[in-house]
């Protein structure tokens, strides 16, 4: 039986990292899964984990989000963004966001790309999101970028693992 769920690449930040990019993503899988464990390198008042595909910095991204904060459930959306965010930030010491992104049909050149994600941050929120990249290009690179008001990047120990899933 062939292996259907394979690790493509993984990296762990050994210094504070401004961004992580997976390049030359093989086009031989059906879906991609990206698992990210991150926190900010400092203690900013706001922090997020942003995603871009193929270095596209145009306003081609949007998202619909639902989250629970421990006191209420909330939904919001962003449109026409230059990247989409999949997490807010952990505030408690030593806690990291755990983010799982499902990227179906990433290599097709007919449809826009949709990302279904879960983010768990025990110190802040748990959330789920659908995010859209309005491009029919196949995804060949993924850049994970931090957004924080101190611009200090991802903390040491933040990890990023990309998997591919093959269909029969």
């Amino acid at each position: 039986m062939p292996v259907t769920y394979e690790s493509i690449a993984t990296t762990t930040a050994t210094t504070a990292s401004p961004a992580i990019t997976f390049t030359s993503i093989p086009q031989t899988f059906t879906d991609l899964i990206l698992i990210v464990s991150v926190r900010a390198n400092s203690t900013p008042t706001s922090f997020g984990t942003g995603i871009r595909f193929n270095s596209d910095t145009g306003t081609n991204y949007s998202r619909t989000v639902t989250y629970g904060s421990g006191s209420s459930a909330v939904s919001f959306r962003d449109t026409n963004q230059t990247r989409f965010f999949v997490s807010s930030g952990p505030t408690a010491a030593s806690t990291f966001n755990l983010i799982r992104l499902n990227i179906p049909d990433y290599s097709n050149t007919t449809t826009y790309k949709q990302v279904i994600a879960r983010n768990d941050d025990i110190s802040d929120v748990t959330s789920m999101s659908a995010s859209l990249w309005r491009s029919t290009n196949a995804i060949t690179s993924i850049t994970v970028t931090p957004f924080d008001d101190n611009s200090t990047g991802f903390a040491v120990g933040s990890s990023f693992t990309l998997y591919g899933i093959k269909a029969a």
Binding site: T4, S62, G68, F76, T111, I116, S129, A130, L132, I165
Partner: protein
């Protein structure tokens, strides 16, 4: 030492002593169905092997509905009786809401993009069907799915119940609004070993 396939010429490891050991994969592709240019009113996975512990269905879907978004209907073993129920938590961009269905003729898995949305927008789903061969409990499903359409869309966490203790041997998927799945819609079924 490698061995070479006489059929396609590819090389792989042999299991001879001295070679690295081989661990069979625990996540296997069972079948995939991709909708062609004519569309499809339904998708069926039949003769599902009973050798796994869980099933996972990964889908990328759009339907022909023009009156609004669509809903994915799920039935097992051709059972169209009122033996299904579901709960959902969802967000539509302005508020988070909950809903449920009881004694339904299918599990409703929300929410599918449709021809009411901009061309090219498909919805994504990861659906887990847990302990599907167990004949001592009802079958449960969980799903995370939906879509964003740059100004509309929903993200939905679904649970579903089939009130039947039979092992799942087939899965029938359809549009609750009796529409067709669009070309390029894709359904992939995987088995996960315990």
């Amino acid at each position: 030492m490698a061995i070479r396939s006489l059929k396609n010429g590819t090389y792989s490891r042999s299991l001879l002593v001295g070679n690295a050991y081989y661990l069979p994969p625990d996540y296997e592709s069972i079948a995939t169905q991709t909708v062609g240019s004519g569309g499809a009113s339904s998708i069926t996975f039949s003769s599902i092997p009973s050798t796994y512990t869980h099933l996972q269905l990964r889908a990328f879907v759009r339907t022909t509905r023009t009156g609004g978004p669509d809903i994915l209907g799920v039935r097992y073993n051709s059972d169209s009786g009122n033996n299904y129920a579901d709960h959902l938590l969802y967000g539509d961009g302005s508020s988070a809401q909950v809903d449920k269905d009881t004694t339904y003729p299918q599990q409703n898995v929300h929410r599918i993009s449709s021809d009411a949305d901009t061309t090219g927008i498909f919805s994504g789903f990861v659906i887990d069907i847990l302990d599907y061969t167990n004949t001592n409990k009802y079958t449960t499903l969980r799903s995370l799915g939906g879509y964003d359409a740059n100004g509309s869309g929903r993200i939905v966490s679904n649970s579903g119940l089939w009130m039947n203790t039979n092992a799942v041997s087939s899965i029938y998927l359809f549009s609750v609004y009796s529409e067709n799945f669009k070309q390029y819609s894709r359904f992939s079924l995987y088995g996960i070993k315990g």
